[in-house]
């Protein structure tokens, strides 16, 4: 090769190589142009999303107060200790174990769990630690990298009122609820029963949103844009209930150790003053993290503490149904106040239907005062023969039985109000007769009611013909002080002739002054009351005691229905509880010996005929 051709070749090679360099750099430049200028619209937002974490912020749940604005339920903070494994140093395990009062193994296990979840995100290590432990951790936080805390809240019950069935408790939302609603996050809690459930939507509040800056490891590095895009959570609405806190506390105390339901309401508007189901479950134990042992024990307890007996149980009303019978009998024009029935200790039709004693001639007022069975057997017999069962059922239904009262609590029962199709279904067509129906006249047989139905009926009786829908909530007050009042509704019994109530009421007044309702009420001053006791036969055990009452007689302010299961005579079991509540309601104090009697009450299994003797023994 000559020098010239070598030189040519060098120059050509330089050109080739320079061309390759320029071409490749142009390709890269073109790629940069594509990424940075043409695709900027795509990558700009992508880098934003990368670093911004959208987080929901829980609102404070609404408070629950009584009718006078006294606090019943609020929130208390709970402290959770968190751990971020990537920042945590293992040599700190002994220190952490000492501060937490937990074993080192336990800490190891929690650390392992956290690592499985994420190395770089905080995991909850110990939830609901007490304030002392929390403070100890706080003071030593500088020595414990990777340890953090989180403040949550749980329901707190600052007063003596527990009202577990009425208030209800919170549980974590199920996966279906989470998917259906779209308003919850997993791990959120929602009301399960009671007011917490019915008014969940209002109590809950609105989730807030905060935007945090995070790095590639998911660590928070601060607010995004100084929090300008954050939305603060809206606190839930406060609920002003119709409950009277002190009355509720007394009612709960009196019902302790018993099985049954109690409803006290204002007969003028249906607002509930007190509602108790006994036994209660311990609402505090369900307020935060669930105590599994307790949850299990409550669910296997044979007295069924989770069952709301004030609205969900259905029991025969016994003699407390007699006032209702009096109203229906007059409407059907089978009786009038002067109509008398002779009681010789039993009503005979096919067989003997027993009365407690031979009352002699009884008009309606006397029959209610003395709780004469014969009178009402006779009335029921007339209804069956001269009218028919279904007319009786229809009228009874109009007075509130066999229907839900519509109280704002879940799981209310309708009770059982039998009619001919009911008997056809139970016994078979033409397989039942008057013998199965006469008992209905004294609230036995297939007829079953709940305490809330009895309270609603008593209110109707006291105030003259209007059935108010019982209600627990007076108003819902939002954080901006606007409020809504839940709709009130009432129903007038249009066929009811007010004058028909007169002898019934007189009979009930008599029951509290000279009849079976008098034993405790006659010792109380300052108010007068009308009432009716009931003892419903229970084939499975001790009889159930009932008492319905209202006071004062002229302008009633309170109506009460009490059911005590397996407690024997209503006159000594249920009646004193109602009496004490009324005494407290009107006088602000209670007669001590009656309260002692209630608190130490032991049910008796003595037969019905011996009621007088039993009472004598107790009163003396």
């Amino acid at each position: 090769m000559s020098n010239l051709s070598v030189n040519n070749r060098v120059q050509t090679s330089i050109k080739v190589l320079q061309f390759i360099v320029v071409a490749v750099l142009l390709v890269i430049m073109g790629r940069m142009f594509q990424l940075q200028i043409l695709d900027y619209e795509k990558y700009g937002p992508l880098s934003q999303q990368n670093t911004i974490l959208r987080e929901s912020v829980s609102p404070a749940r609404g408070l629950i107060l009584d009718r006078h604005g006294q606090l019943i339920v609020n929130n208390e903070p709970t402290y959770t200790i968190t751990i971020t494994p990537s920042n945590f140093r293992r040599e700190n395990i002994p220190l952490l174990s000492r501060l937490m009062g937990k074993s080192e193994e336990e800490i190891q296990n929690q650390l392992l769990r956290a690592q499985n979840y994420s190395w770089h995100r905080p995991s909850r290590m110990f939830t609901e630690v007490d304030f002392e432990t929390f403070s100890a951790i706080q003071e030593n936080l500088w020595r414990l990298p990777g340890i953090g805390h989180q403040v949550d809240s749980r329901r707190n019950y600052p007063s003596e009122v527990r009202a577990s069935h009425l208030l209800g408790y919170l549980r974590e939302v199920t996966e279906q609820e989470y998917e259906r609603s779209g308003r919850y996050r997993l791990g959120d809690r929602a009301g399960r029963i009671g007011i917490e459930r019915v008014y969940e939507e209002y109590l809950r509040g609105e989730l807030g949103t905060s935007y945090q800056r995070v790095n590639a490891l998911g660590q928070m590095v601060g607010m995004y844009d100084d929090g300008r895009h954050d939305v603060n959570p809206t606190k839930g609405a406060d609920i002003y209930t119709t409950i009277d806190k002190n009355l509720q506390a007394l009612a709960e105390e009196l019902m302790k150790g018993k099985i049954g339901g109690l409803v006290a309401m204002d007969p003028n508007d249906g607002s509930i003053l007190s509602l108790v189901s006994a036994p209660q479950f311990e609402i505090e134990k369900l307020s935060g993290k669930i105590d599994r042992e307790y949850w299990h024990s409550v669910n296997v307890d044979s007295t069924r503490p989770m069952f709301n007996r004030a609205i969900s149980t259905q029991q025969p009303p016994g003699s407390t149904i007699k006032p209702m019978m009096g109203i229906v009998g007059q409407e059907l024009e089978l009786i009038d106040p002067d109509h008398t029935v002779y009681c010789d200790g039993a009503f005979v039709r096919g067989r003997r239907y027993h009365c407690l004693t031979d009352h002699g001639n009884q008009n309606l007022e006397q029959a209610i005062t003395n709780s004469c069975n014969t009178y009402f057997f006779s009335l029921m017999n007339d209804i069956i023969n001269e009218v028919d069962l279904n007319t009786w059922s229809r009228l009874t239904s109009d007075l509130g039985f066999g229907n839900r009262t519509g109280i704002d609590l879940p799981y209310e029962t309708t009770g059982i109000l039998p009619d001919s199709s009911y008997y056809d279904r139970i016994f078979g067509v033409n397989r039942w007769g008057p013998g199965d129906l006469i008992n209905l006249g004294i609230g036995q047989g297939s007829f079953s009611v709940s305490p809330i139905q009895m309270a609603a009926f008593t209110s109707m009786l006291a105030t003259g013909g209007t059935l108010h829908k019982p209600r627990l909530v007076d108003r819902l007050v939002f954080p901006d002080n606007t409020y809504i009042e839940p709709e009130r509704s009432s129903q007038t019994v249009d066929w009811l002739n007010i004058s028909h109530l007169e002898s019934v009421r007189k009979g009930m007044v008599g029951a509290t002054t000279e009849g079976s309702g008098r034993y405790y009420l006659e010792h109380m001053q300052g108010f007068d009351a009308a009432g009716k006791t009931g003892t419903s036969q229970n084939p499975h055990g001790l009889n159930h005691g009932w008492f319905i009452t209202y006071a004062p007689i002229e302008e009633p302010e309170i109506a009460i229905a009490v059911l005590l299961e397996n407690s024997g005579f209503g006159s000594v079991s249920a009646a004193p509880i109602a009496a004490l509540l009324m005494e407290y309601y009107f006088n602000g104090e209670t007669t001590q010996w009656i309260k002692d009697h209630v608190l130490n009450f032991e049910p008796t299994s003595r037969p019905e005929e011996e009621e007088e003797e039993v009472i004598e023994e107790i009163i003396q």
Partner: protein, 416 residues
């Protein structure tokens, strides 16, 4: 040497200095910015270390100017052998980093021998190919010897699991042979497997088209039917081989990397993560960038190895198309200037050394930026003069120093 400053290549030195300063700014942002919170302290030290290395390198460049060019020829063989021995030692006693055994610790100093091995290989091959008039890459014997001289160090580096550097060394083969007289057609034939392979990974139909185009090219340049046929057959074999390798031979992690290169959004949390984050950093920089220390991808640790392999996205994110473009222009000036100097030089050894150094630097730029922009599969290589790394910066600076020296002493360094 009265007029030395007129002979001295100030432009080349300027490119070197400008890239070093841009590198320092980027390393500062990548290790000392808000991101430092998430970095261990030894990485935060990278910035100050780099400053020290730049001073050492500047000193080396100055000292190199006082050396006679002939001494490079004289020490080349010794230097090459020393590098081979140290390279083998690295394989056995090296320190691991990111799956590769790269560093040899000598007296407390961590040295990456492979960086110097590139230079040693260039020197020794240039020395060999220009030592005698009858030795030329046109002849089969010398050509094969040269190839062997380059494959040995490449294999040692491959044994250190440093695929990137090995690839760069292999790329020296066509460059060096091409320059020392290998016919153009054969040069193109040698390069064709790499080119066909690249396109075959993207898409096998594209691989076939490129193979056919290259075959036509080889035919047009050389007009030798046998070579043309071989080019075509090799091209087809590469296309098939790539398909087999992709689905049969490669380790799952390598497959994942290739997969991530072809379609990073398929697996944005896994293998595609790095590429997606790098592209997001570059793309979100826009024209003017987010500003110094303001890049969210950089400062919030979304970029992997952002002080070395992924330093280019740091510049692109914080300084935008303008900043990234400046870097590319500086590299363009540097490379074109080196080639120009090579063409001007009369001594074949000097020419070959400068062309070889250009080839090495060019491959680094191509692979590093190609990886970061998603043009190439991710292959971990530093960006010359910009990425953090003492050995790399020093070795690259010595290369520039040698090129400056060869240019400065152009007249005294005459042919034979």
């Amino acid at each position: 040497m009265k007029e030395w400053h007129k002979q001295f290549d100030w432009l080349l030195l300027f490119c070197w200095g400008a890239l070093a300063i841009i590198g320092l700014v980027a390393i500062y942002s990548a290790t000392q910015g808000p991101v430092s919170e998430f970095l261990p302290s030894y990485i935060q030290n990278n910035f100050s270390n780099q400053v020290i290395w730049i001073f050492i390198s500047a000193l080396a460049i100055i000292l190199l100017q006082f050396t006679a060019p002939r001494s490079f020829i004289q020490i080349s063989v010794l230097f090459y052998i020393a590098c081979l021995i140290l390279g083998i030692m690295t394989v056995f006693w090296g320190t691991e980093s990111g799956g590769a055994t790269r560093w040899l610790v000598i007296g407390g100093l961590r040295i990456q021998i492979s960086e110097f091995m590139k230079l040693a290989t260039i020197l020794v091959v240039a020395q060999y190919l220009t030592s005698r008039r009858d030795i030329s890459a046109e002849k089969v014997g010398p050509a094969l010897t040269s190839v062997l001289l380059m494959i040995i160090p490449a294999s040692i580096v491959l044994l250190q699991n440093d695929t990137g550097t090995a690839l760069v060394m292999l790329s020296l083969i066509p460059v060096m042979l091409f320059w020392s007289g290998l016919p153009y057609g054969i040069s193109l034939f040698i390069v064709s497997p790499a080119v066909v392979g690249y396109f075959a990974i993207l898409n096998w139909q594209l691989g076939i088209i490129v193979a056919i185009l290259l075959t036509i090219g080889v035919f047009l340049i050389q007009r030798r039917p046998s070579l043309t046929l071989v080019t075509f057959v090799v091209g087809m074999l590469i296309v098939i081989g790539v398909q087999v390798a992709l689905y049969q031979i490669l380790q799952p992690y390598q497959q994942a990397r290739i997969e991530a290169f072809i379609n990073p959004s398929l697996d944005p949390e896994g293998a595609g993560w790095n590429v997606m984050q790098a592209k997001t950093a570059i793309g979100s920089g826009g024209i003017f960038g987010k500003g110094f220390l303001e890049g969210t991808q950089t400062q919030l640790r979304f970029l992997p190895e952002q002080w070395t392999d992924f330093i280019f996205p740091v510049i692109a994110e914080e300084f935008g198309f303008i900043g990234a473009g400046l870097v590319l222009i500086l590299f363009g000036m540097l490379l074109l200037r080196l080639l120009y100097n090579a063409g001007e030089h009369k001594h074949p050894f000097a020419q070959l050394v400068m062309v070889g150094i250009t080839g090495i630097l060019f491959m680094h730029v191509l692979i590093n930026i190609g990886s970061a922009t998603g043009l190439l599969p991710v292959i971990g290589l530093p960006l010359p003069f910009v990425s953090y790394g003492g050995s790399s910066f020093l070795a690259n600076s010595i290369m520039i120093g040698i090129c400056l020296n060869l240019r400065l002493h152009q007249r005294s360094f005459s042919t034979f």
